[in-house]
């Protein structure tokens, strides 16, 4: 038992020490994980392509001018059997999107971290966002 405790503490210590390493995103060569932008708009196009699908969101500014954001997501095969399809994403509702912007300064280009609908349901990179209370609210 004592050995097990020692091992567990070692794991906790390893975990804590390793946390800064979590910033090493595999997409970090392209997107800035330390910055987040939030936009509101409507999904106008989805490119169901390898190696990553792209979701395009039309965002209107105060003057009525539309900017189309290109948002990278995951490889198409990740969606296999999930029920999340191109048609589901193209549902004409207003969405709020958070994204990590491009490191190279390209405007309106980012990695999508969360797409939220007005009724509370989400498509998120973080499992914690699919919280049951949030889902109930969405019903």
């Amino acid at each position: 038992m004592r050995g097990l405790h020692r091992w567990l503490w070692a794991m906790v210590a390893a975990l804590v020490c390793a946390l800064p390493g979590m910033a090493h995103h595999s997409f970090a060569a392209e997107f800035d994980a330390n910055k987040t932008v939030t936009i509101k708009g409507v999904v106008s196009k989805v490119d169901w392509v390898n190696p990553h699908i792209f979701i395009y969101v039309d965002v209107k500014d105060a003057n009525g001018k539309t900017t189309t954001w290109a948002l990278q997501s995951l490889p198409p095969l990740f969606f296999r059997g999930s029920g999340l399809t191109k048609d589901v994403l193209m549902n004409k509702q207003e969405v709020t999107v958070t994204a990590n912007p491009a490191k190279d300064g390209t405007q309106a280009y980012g990695f999508m971290t969360k797409l939220s609908y007005a009724d509370g349901h989400v498509f998120s990179m973080s499992p914690a966002d699919a919280d049951p209370s949030l889902r109930q609210k969405g019903k």
């Binding site: 390793a18 190696p51 296999r80 190279d104």
Partner: protein
């Protein structure tokens, strides 16, 4: 295939696995996920074709299409073989040995690996080629030939492998290609596929594992129940000290192979820094 995804299990990855576990996601390889879909597969009967050879027909592997987006209530979230924390596939290491590069070649591997996001051909929609494309996703087995089908992230691929005893093409005008020139024969119950004429434009894995035009690949497939023991040996006397062999166990899958989505390299111009982008098979 996760071919040559041989980076050591770092403390960070270990910690990520510990961190993910309570969230209910499973840290596992595609191969383990596929095995779980057909319990006891190796103990099932081994069907044979009319000519007595083990029947290799079937869908055996799905690349990494193991349902890594999950529906939770009305929401969708990431799970399976993907870590939301690290943004990377955290397939557990497949226990591969280290590729036995000669010293001079190893230096080039290090250099290519450091620039992987720019240099890795398969990350930019170029065919991974044999053997990086991995074991066949589907096999169509006839008495005179077997056909390997792949729904790869770079596009749909096929290899026609004659079993009629012919030798490799000796036509000097025949170009080297991504999937090479394959001929097959039976060694008892094992299908042996010999591959030559492979282009040196491909890598053997996503860590800068380049090879020369002298690459010679031998694949061995042995059906055991509803599994296939797949072994691939790479010989390249120009860059390797000795042959390099990797093994995988494939499991017969219940569903059909899906056509791969087209590959469009939207990222190429946007890489600024040099963090590795996992691109395993």
């Amino acid at each position: 295939m996760g071919l040559a995804n041989h980076r050591t299990l770092t403390l960070g990855a270990l910690a990520a696995a510990v961190l993910i576990a309570p969230l209910g996601a499973q840290a596992q390889t595609n191969y383990a996920a596929e095995a779980a879909r057909n319990p006891g597969a190796a103990s099932k009967p081994t069907p044979r074709t009319a000519d007595g050879h083990p029947d290799l027909n079937g869908v055996w592997h799905h690349f990494f299409g193991i349902g890594t987006i999950q529906k939770v209530g009305d929401s969708f979230t990431v799970g399976g073989a993907f870590s939301p924390q690290s943004g990377a596939l955290y397939n557990t290491p497949l226990g591969d040995s280290k590729p036995p590069y000669k010293a001079a070649a190893a230096e080039k591997v290090t250099l290519l690996d450091a620039n992987q996001v720019k240099e890795d051909p398969a990350l930019h929609c170029i065919s991974p080629g044999v053997p990086r494309i991995g074991p066949p996703h589907q096999i169509v087995h006839t008495p005179k030939q077997v056909v390997f089908l792949y729904a790869d992230s770079t596009g749909n691929q096929w290899r026609v492998i004659p079993l009629d005893g012919r030798a490799h093409s000796t036509d000097p005008e025949t170009a080297a290609t991504y999937n090479g020139d394959s001929v097959g024969h039976w060694d008892g119950d094992t299908l042996v596929v010999d591959v030559t004429r492979l282009t040196d434009e491909t890598w053997l894995g996503d860590n800068g594992l380049f090879h020369s035009r002298r690459l010679h690949v031998t694949e061995r497939l042995k059906r055991v129940g509803e599994t296939i023991q797949y072994q691939v040996t790479m010989e390249d006397p120009e860059v390797f000290e000795k042959p390099w062999t990797l093994s995988r166990t494939l499991t017969l899958q219940p569903d059909a192979l899906e056509e791969a989505a087209p590959c469009v390299d939207n990222d190429a111009g946007h890489y600024v820094t040099k963090e590795h982008h996992d691109n395993t098979r």
